[in-house]
Symmetry: C2
Subunit: 477 residues, 2 copies
């Protein structure tokens, strides 16, 4: 390990206890300072991001920065509310069955220093000051960010602003740092001072880091969000009645951000009878589309490689052949998809998607059964579709978010959002990387038994001095 | 894989959807039927357990069965309450920052079939119908129990009673089964139809299974609770004022169940000046102690082997030398413990414990820093002890449950209990295997976006028809 990385890890470890002990309101104020500081530097940051990622400044990068600072403020509010602490108190009770119970008081505490891997495609929202960083800092876990190589200057400048804002809000210096390079990232994942990891990126990258985390002498949780194909299922009635609107929404969603979203719809299942008309509508929508450059050379090369594999697959036909980064539409028969799904179910990170033509509802359901773990799945249908309930049951069992007559891109930061799913969408099926429940990843329970008031954390003391939501003897109180 | 195990896994997979879809009240009724059935067969089950485990029928085995059936009933009540579903609803809001939000409704759903490894030392409470099984069945996850080889007949008989009770309560047949043998257990852990694992037992066994779970093509969460040394820290003032009571409590706790509890206090830190008197008190308590046989030959052999390693360590001296299974008391100096903790920090599963003599508070705190992950730690002190706050801060950072003037054995099943801790106490620092929050292990979130009422799970519909606790737009509602 380089001495720089060792210094950063030592500082994170050194800040651990002091940072964890800061009151929630102090951490919340610190997150708001970070948000204010990033907003104030929006012009500079957006311009830097644009130069490093090719993403357009307006609306994209300004909107993404707005989302990022809103995320910091929403998590700040959540921390002050204190519901995420799951404060739970049992009164002592000698009559409690199976031997009585002591005075037991449980809450969640930060897990310790976290390494966060920034994503290439969200230089703000899933990067240095993004959701993983915000969630860890919110709960009191120091953060070491491994910058994404796609936007190193933006990462450093964002890091400077975050560090300064945190310092102005009494956060200990070691609680936040940015490091660069794959070697630094790997060193952090296997270092005993790091207690959890978070990642947004490719399946190969996420799995390799997850494996390192699991193989440590002391394994740690590693929360990798690794993308998804996000299938969309269009029922016969929806295809007959609303093909135009669905084609328009589809093109908007799969070309948004040049198709570089983990929620891009990569496959849309359309009834065979309606498919030619639907594909023609999509082609016509695409005709007016202005191609956008991809994030960087590495992403462009990866896109070309995966797309070329799909294009040359014997089951696949091209409907719209985008050259370079112009959008591409592919099509195949559901029968072929069912036999070749191992080859066809790949995330193609860029502006390409595939129509899968199904013959009947039995084949549609069979296709839904093929999926193992996705971030999202969407159904376009109507309440009269007899197949809808069965289809939704299959999908709910396989994905993290199920949409009705909607498109999966545009993941809002809210209380009820879930951005996760079974493997290979993520390595942690029980957790989300977006929304207020994302805090849970960096927390662990501690129970205090018969502890005197003066030695208890304030959250758990008699009279609820911090006014957090608590469960007392199994009831809100 | 044997065809028997394959049949069991196929049945669990086949029951998955139907079982998950059962209303909570139906699953709760099924758990209560199981509890009633086990209570009704108490005489037979306790007698069988006694023959296979050497544990005394009264009070131990009867009390453990009572705890087990109480656990089933408490989890049944929890499932009806529905708080564990974390139902969360966001109203659609075009003014929500960062792009508006859709109608989003989140709840937790069962993760799918779970393999549960029964423990040797709790033939009821952590075995076929124990906490892991109860938690998984409570949330709607099918269970395949890998029986502990220490009590095969009891496992089968318990399994028959559980199966019959579940069948009488409309639970699909595949939702529960018992299998035997290490090979069957390993086959289940790596089978794609199994979606989570739970284990209580040794570090070596738990780690090996955790590794299998992580190395799957599709890794699954594996919740292994692997024991602990459970250090106890006695301050100078407590040792001076209450040595007799502390010695009595210590002997009661470390010899309970012949020392075969994962919460047995394996190390007690006592000030050097008070240690000779304290050790004499402990020796005197032990003089009246009647030795009990260990669970089985395998456990006895393991105990002798670990104890013999400790006994022969140059830093260790014997105060009370128990032959065979009579309790043993060891002692060493804290300075030696600090240099040799890698060798001395081992779980010795049986009636042995060690006094560590510390010179001053600095040395006491240094000893506390040595621990990496424990289920529990206890402090015996008084509010006047200046060291108490620092000591508790260090311990809260390292263990799952912190006790004040108490002993760690006797883990009650409650709302606020946490039975877990950082590695090596468990492989899942964020979770507990005891108490109502143990359900969380077998659940994962799903969010429904813009879903019509008729296609939503009842829990999430307008008007809260099931009356579960819900968070609506960030507030209870």
């Amino acid at each position: 390990m380089s001495s720089d990385v060792d210094t950063v890890l030592a500082a994170a470890d050194g800040a651990r206890a002091e940072f964890a002990a800061l009151p929630g309101r102090v951490r919340a104020r610190a997150l708001r300072r970070v948000a204010d500081s990033l907003d104030a530097a929006a012009g500079e940051l957006v311009s830097l991001a644009n130069r490093e990622t090719n993403l357009p400044t307006t609306p994209r990068l300004h909107a993404e920065l707005e989302r990022t600072t809103f995320q910091l403020r929403l998590l700040a509010e959540t921390v002050v509310d204190g519901r995420h602490l799951e404060a739970t108190l049992d009164s002592p009770d000698t009559c409690w069955p199976a031997g009585g119970r002591a005075d037991l008081r449980r809450m969640l505490v930060p897990v310790g220093p976290v390494v966060v891997f920034g994503a290439s495609n969200f230089p703000f929202a899933f990067s240095v000051a993004g959701g993983d960083t915000a969630a860890a800092l919110a709960v009191g876990a120091p953060v070491v960010v491994k910058a994404n190589p796609g936007h190193p200057l933006l990462s450093d400048r964002t890091g400077e602003l975050v560090s300064a804002a945190l310092a102005s809000a009494d956060v200990p210096a070691g609680a936040f740092a940015v490091v660069h390079g794959e070697e630094a990232g790997r060193a952090a994942v296997v270092d005993p001072r790091i207690k959890a990891g978070a990642f947004t990126g490719s399946l190969a990258g996420g799995r390799a880091l997850f494996d390192l985390a699991c193989r440590r002498p002391d394994p740690i949780p590693f929360y990798a969000e690794m993308g998804s194909v996000n299938p969309v299922f269009v029922t016969e009635s929806a295809a007959v009645e609303r093909a135009g609107g669905i084609a328009e929404g589809y093109v908007g969603s799969f070309t948004l951000g040049a198709g570089q979203f983990c929620t891009k719809p990569g496959l849309v299942f359309v009834p065979e009878s309606q498919a030619p008309a639907f594909e023609a509508l999509v082609a016509s929508e695409l005709a007016g589309h202005v191609a956008a450059p991809l994030l960087n050379e590495r992403v462009a090369t990866g896109y070309e490689s995966v797309l070329s594999g799909l294009r040359s697959h014997p089951a696949v036909r091209e409907v719209v052949s985008g050259t370079a980064v112009a959008p591409t539409l592919l099509t195949c028969a559901a029968a072929d998809f069912l036999t070749a799904h191992d080859e066809l179910l790949v995330e193609c990170f860029g502006p390409a998607s595939m129509v899968v033509r199904y013959r009947d509802e039995a084949e549609l359901l069979a296709c839904a059964r093929v999926f193992k773990g996705e971030l999202t799945a969407a159904v376009h249908g109507s309440l009269e579709d007899a197949v809808a309930a069965d289809l939704l049951a299959l999908l709910s069992d396989r994905v993290g978010r199920v949409l009705w007559n909607g498109w999966p891109t545009g993941v809002s930061v809210t209380y009820a959002m879930h951005h996760g799913g079974p493997y290979p969408a993520t390595t942690a099926v029980g957790h989300t990387s977006v929304g207020t429940t994302s805090l849970r990843r960096f927390l662990r329970p501690v129970t205090y038994q018969n502890m005197p008031q003066a030695l208890l954390p304030e959250v758990l003391r008699d009279g609820n001095p911090l006014g957090v939501p608590r469960l007392v003897d199994g009831r809100p109180g």
